[in-house]
Every structure is written in structure tokens, then in C-alpha cells.
């Protein structure tokens, strides 16, 4: 609907439809091919599949109960029984990492969905309607961007008493601005195109034009930004939880596992305890960034296949 070519009745026009449809199919395959050519992106995708998969399967594959304390086994070195060693309460670090990953990834994904939804809506409305609406919304974006994120994050989390759902909400409400600017920019150019004019001519409502017609064409950059955002949220969650202002124990996350590893005794005798949670964060964020970068190149028509 709304695509002018579809309404052309003559033979020439039908041919054109076939061409467009054929092009569509190959466009997706071009994107996939471009993505698969990028070795780092493929590596990232494989890593993410493993990390997300093991986190989801944690209850079945974790070798130990993540909360089982065994004070006789405190700070035990990595061994056959405890592959990555134990922490200061004798809990198995591998099992805690698997379970902690569920929480860290959950925060990252849900906050991303929230931030992208708000950002896309605000950006689409601002870009589509322009004028005063645009000016007001963009000033709002300017104000929120002006706060050094970490100060506002910490203040809000502290005022609201830290908890998992509040953390996600604060993340989403403070981080939609980048997406909003991005989507607004896309809308500013897309709204002048013929297919939007056509949709308007046949009397389509603004809501339908924004979400049904323009948004699908603007999704490329949004998908890239969303992928990179998940990594960013995981980093932010880990830092806040590390400071004791994020997810609270007994729920374990990669960030708050590191809080208790901060002691000279542990640094001297149990290197595995502060090391592995950080490695998990690093690998996860790295993988998201690789995949995001790969998607950016794959979705950008200006980047030509090598």
C-alpha cells in the first residue's frame, strides 16, 4: 500500500513490480552476505549465541547451586569440581556467572527495548510534524543529554531506592535521546519522499503513515543503535551494581559479584574471583559491539560488498 509502482496498470508496470519484489529478496540476501563477510561480526554473533544460550539454560547446565555457601571451601582455586573457583562464601563462581548473566542480559535487553521505543516515538513525532512540536521535543533532548548520565543515574537510583525494575526504568528514561535524534533525522528526509505523499493522498492517518510507512524505512540505523545500546546498558548496570547502587544482593549480576572481590586478601590469593566476572562483561559487550558494527556496514547501502 502506498507504493506508487503497485498502482500502475500496464504491462510495463507489472514488470516493474516483479523487479521490485525480486530486488527486495536479493536485498535481504545482500545484507546477510555482507554481514557474514565480516569475520568480527560473525564471531560476535557466535559468542552472543553461546552467552545468551548458557544464561537461559543456567538451571540445567550450572554445575552447582549458585547460592549454596560452603565456608570450608572459601576462595578455592579453579579445579575439576569448581571450574572457575569459588568466592568469599564458597559459592561456585561459574554457576553464579551463569545465573548472574540472566540478570545482566535481562537488564540490557529490557532497558534497550524501553529506550528504543521512547526514542523512536519521540524522534518520529518530532521529525514528522516538525515546527513547534519538533522544537519542544528537541530542547527536551538537549536538556537530558546535558546531564552527565552517571550523575543523574546515581541520583535517581539513590532517591528511588535501588531495585531491578527501577534500574531498568531509569536506564530507559535517560537513554532514549540518541535514538530520538537519529530517528528524527531519518524522518526529516523520508517524509519528503513520494511514497509518503502517496500515502497522504489516499487519506491515510498520520499514525499509520508514521508507523506503517516511514518507520520501516528508518529501522536500519535504529537496529544498529539498539544492538550497541544493549552492550552499553550491561556496562552501566555492572558499574552501578559494583558501586552498590544497582541490582542488590542476593540477586547476583556480573557487576555486583565484583563488589565483594575488592579486598587486598582476595587480590593476593584469589585472582580468579575478580577476574572472571569482568571477562564475562567484556566478552558480552565486545560481542554486541561487533554485531552492531557488522549490522551497520551490512545495512548501509553505501558500503559495497568487497
Amino acid at each position: 500500500m502506498g507504493k506508487p509502482e503497485l498502482n500502475l496498470p500496464n504491462e510495463k508496470g507489472e514488470k516493474r513490480i516483479e523487479q521490485t519484489l525480486g530486488k527486495r529478496r536479493s536485498l535481504l540476501s545482500i545484507i546477510v552476505a555482507k554481514f557474514l563477510q565480516n569475520k568480527l561480526a560473525v564471531f560476535g554473533l557466535i559468542m552472543l549465541t553461546i552467552i545468551v544460550g548458557t544464561a537461559l539454560l543456567a538451571p540445567w547446565i550450572a554445575p552447582h547451586d549458585p547460592d549454596f555457601q560452603n565456608l570450608r571451601n572459601r576462595l578455592a582455586a579453579p579445579s575439576g569440581e569448581f571450574l572457575l573457583g569459588t568466592d568469599h562464601l564458597g559459592r561456585d563462581i561459574l554457576s553464579r556467572l551463569l545465573y548472574g548473566g540472566r540478570v545482566s542480559l535481562f537488564v540490557g535487553f529490557v532497558a534497550m527495548v524501553g529506550a528504543v521505543t521512547i526514542g523512536t516515538t519521540v524522534g518520529a513525532v518530532a521529525g514528522y510534524f516538525g515546527g513547534l512540536v519538533d522544537a519542544f521535543l528537541m530542547r527536551l533532548v538537549d536538556i537530558i543529554i546535558s546531564f552527565p548520565n552517571i550523575f543523574l543515574l546515581i541520583t535517581l537510583v539513590a532517591v528511588l531506592e535501588p531495585s531491578l525494575d527501577k534500574l531498568i526504568m531509569v536506564f530507559a528514561f535517560l537513554s532514549w535521546t540518541g535514538t530520538a535524534r537519529l530517528v528524527r533525522g531519518e524522518f526529516l528526509t523520508l517524509k519528503k519522499r513520494e511514497f509518503v505523499l502517496a500515502a497522504r493522498t489516499i487519506g491515510m492517518s498520520n499514525t499509520k503513515i508514521i508507523f506503517g510507512q516511514i518507520l520501516p524505512s528508518a529501522m536500519g540505523p535504529v537496529i544498529v543503535a539498539a544492538t550497541l545500546a544493549v552492550g552499553g546498558f550491561i556496562l552501566a548496570e555492572s558499574a552501578l551494581s559494583f558501586l552498590g547502587l544497582g541490582v542488590q544482593p542476593p540477586t547476583s549480576t556480573w557487576g555486583n559479584m565484583l563488589t565483594y572481590s575488592q579486598s587486598v586478601t582476595i587480590f593476593r590469593t584469589a585472582w580468579w574471583y575478580p577476574t572472571f566476572p569482568g571477562v564475562m562483561i567484556l566478552l558480552t559487550v565486545l560481542s554486541f559491539n561487533f554485531v552492531g558494527d557488522g549490522l551497520r556496514d551490512a545495512l548501509d547501502p553505501r558500503v559495497i560488498e568487497k
Binding site: 548520565n149 550523575f151 546515581i154 541520583t155 556496562l235 558499574a239 593476593r268 577476574t275 567484556l282
Partner: protein, 315 residues
């Protein structure tokens, strides 16, 4: 140019107003009226009411906002709830430590990131370029606080080369070497926060410049490659890089929160975290406002520098 700067300054007013309203709103909406902690628990209800009245806590929010704001404009951020000191003095005490850390790590980030970014661009697709790219990817994905933990574990505890935290050895006289010894690890950790981004930025800025006509002209004239790259190329590539510093300011202030906490470095960030745990709202709000205003000024400087340095931009 002047009109552009004036226009940019006027644009700052609604932003600063918005920032102050949000800061005030958080303090106002904070659960458990914070000033009650200020009062004696044995005090009678009437006396407490009188105290609340005297402090202006019974006034409607907009009056409270105006009172608070008129003091802030005069540089008076009120008195700390827990330390009973003027907030301004507490910030002034710790600001030098944060500035030293920030300046030192900026220098560190620049002297490492810019040369590597340039080399990475001039030798595009070489082993060195891939190495630099992979390293900056790793740098972007590494949680800053964890890098700090690892460095403390390795250099301070296992090897014993550096102190675990603080600005100087306790009880010692002022000693420049001792200060530097304490500064080195926190500065490295804070520098890495921006190094990766700065390297990538230098690389792409340099790549763009290298493909320009005037570089080909310079080569055609027979200049040595070094002269072409550094004199004709880098000088132009630096324009967008210099403006990036204005934008880096907030990341440095933000990064200092975690680094200072990690290394017990008595600066603004350290003060901010302890104020958060003590719910010392005047301190929290003052630092948030301070950081936001610095961010706005940083953006302004970036925009103006860009306009000044690049004659192609017209306003």
C-alpha cells in the same frame, strides 16, 4: 561570528533552566523530607514545625525553587546535611584533586590515542591498523572499574609497585614523586575510558583528510611523506578532534566518579558517591548541577572552536 556566539549563549538559557528544574524536582520529590534528619529526634512537633517554617520547607514548590535558585546563582549551594559544612567549600576542597586527575589523564589519552590514530589511518588495512582497531574495540568494551580492579590487583597488590589508593602517603610531607606515584594508576584507568574513542575518531578524521585534493597536491609538489602527513594532513584532521575535547569533558567527569571511588581519590566523584549513600541532597544536587553546567559549557566550547577553526563553516 559574534552573533553566532550570542545566539548559542541565548540557546543555553532554556537548557540551564531545564537542568535546574530537574535537579530541584528530584530533591523536592525525594522520599523522607531530608531536612528532618537535620533535626533533633527529641524535638517537639511544634518546634519541628517552626524549624520547617524557618527553613522554608512549608512553602509551595515554586517559591522553594526560586529561593534555592537565587542562592545557587550567588554560588551558595546550602549546607551539607551530614557534614554541616557549606557545600561550596566541600566542593572547592576536592575540586583540585579531580582537576589534577582529569588533566593528567587527558594528556595521557592524547599522547597515546592521536599518534596511534594517525598511524592506523596512514597504514590503513595494515597489521598495525588491525591491531589498533582490535585494541580500541577491547577498550570500548572493558568496564572501566574492572580494568582498575585488575591493575590494582596486578601492580599494587601482587607486584607492589604502586600504592593501593589515596593522593599521597599518609602523614608524609608534600613530595612530587610521591604524588605522581599515587596518580599513575587512576590516571591510566580514567584515560582508557576515552582513549579508544579518541583513537577511532582520529583515524576516521585522518582518513577523510588523506583523500582530499590538497594532500594529492602536496604529494605532487614532491614534499616528503612525513611533511605531507603531519604538516598538511594532521593539522586539518585535528580540527574535529579538538572539538571532541569539549564533548569529552562530561565523560571525564562521569568517569572520575568510578575511578575516584576505586582508588579512594578524594575528589568530586568520591564526594558524590558518599553523599549518595548518606542521602546528603544539597551535595548531590550541587554536584549534579555542576556537572551538567560543565557539560553545557563543554558543548558550547566545542561548537565555537569548530566555527573558529574551520573557515569553511559559515554562520
Amino acid at each position: 561570528m559574534t552573533t553566532y556566539i550570542i545566539r548559542r549563549l541565548i540557546m543555553m538559557i532554556p537548557i540551564l533552566f531545564g537542568i535546574s528544574v530537574i535537579s530541584f524536582a528530584i530533591m523536592y520529590a525525594a522520599p523522607g523530607k531530608p531536612t528532618v534528619m537535620d533535626l533533633d529526634p527529641d524535638i517537639s512537633v511544634e518546634a519541628r514545625e517552626a524549624q520547617m517554617e524557618r527553613l522554608g520547607l512549608n512553602d509551595p514548590p515554586h517559591i522553594q525553587y526560586i529561593n534555592w535558585m537565587s542562592n545557587v546563582v550567588k554560588g551558595d549551594f546550602g549546607t551539607s546535611f551530614t557534614k554541616k559544612q557549606p557545600v561550596r567549600d566541600m566542593i572547592a576542597d576536592r575540586l583540585p584533586n579531580t582537576l589534577i586527575l582529569m588533566i593528567f589523564s587527558t594528556i595521557l589519552a592524547v599522547i597515546i590515542a592521536i599518534p596511534f590514530g594517525v598511524l592506523s589511518a596512514t597504514k590503513q588495512y595494515s597489521k598495525l591498523d588491525y591491531g589498533v582497531t582490535i585494541t580500541s574495540f577491547l577498550g570500548l568494551a572493558t568496564p572501566n572499574f574492572w580494568l582498575g580492579l585488575m591493575l590494582i590487583m596486578l601492580f599494587s597488590v601482587q607486584l607492589g609497585w604502586t600504592p593501593v589508593g589515596g593522593v599521597s602517603t599518609l602523614g608524609g610531607e608534600f613530595n612530587l614523586l610521591d604524588r605522581l606515584h599515587h596518580l599513575i594508576l587512576p590516571a591510566i584507568v580514567l584515560a582508557t575510558a576515552d582513549m579508544a574513542g579518541l583513537t577511532r575518531y582520529t583515524r576516521s578524521s585522518m582518513l577523510e583528510v588523506i583523500n582530499q585534493d590538497y594532500i594529492r597536491t602536496a604529494r605532487a609538489k614532491g614534499f616528503r611523506e612525513k611533511t605531507v602527513i603531519y604538516k598538511h594532513g594532521l593539522r586539518n584532521a585535528l580540527i574535529p578532534i579538538i572539538t571532541i575535547f569539549g564533548l569529552m569533558l562530561p565523560t571525564f567527569i562521569g568517569g572520575s566518579v568510578i575511578v575516584e571511588q576505586l582508588f579512594s581519590w578524594p575528589g568530586i566523584g568520591h564526594l558524590f558517591i558518599s553523599a549518595t549513600f548518606e542521602r546528603d541532597y544539597p551535595v548531590i544536587m550541587a554536584i549534579t548541577m555542576f556537572g551538567a553546567v560543565l557539560t553545557v559549557i563543554g558543548n558550547l566550547i566545542a561548537d565555537i572552536l569548530y566555527a573558529v577553526l574551520d573557515p569553511r563553516i559559515e554562520y
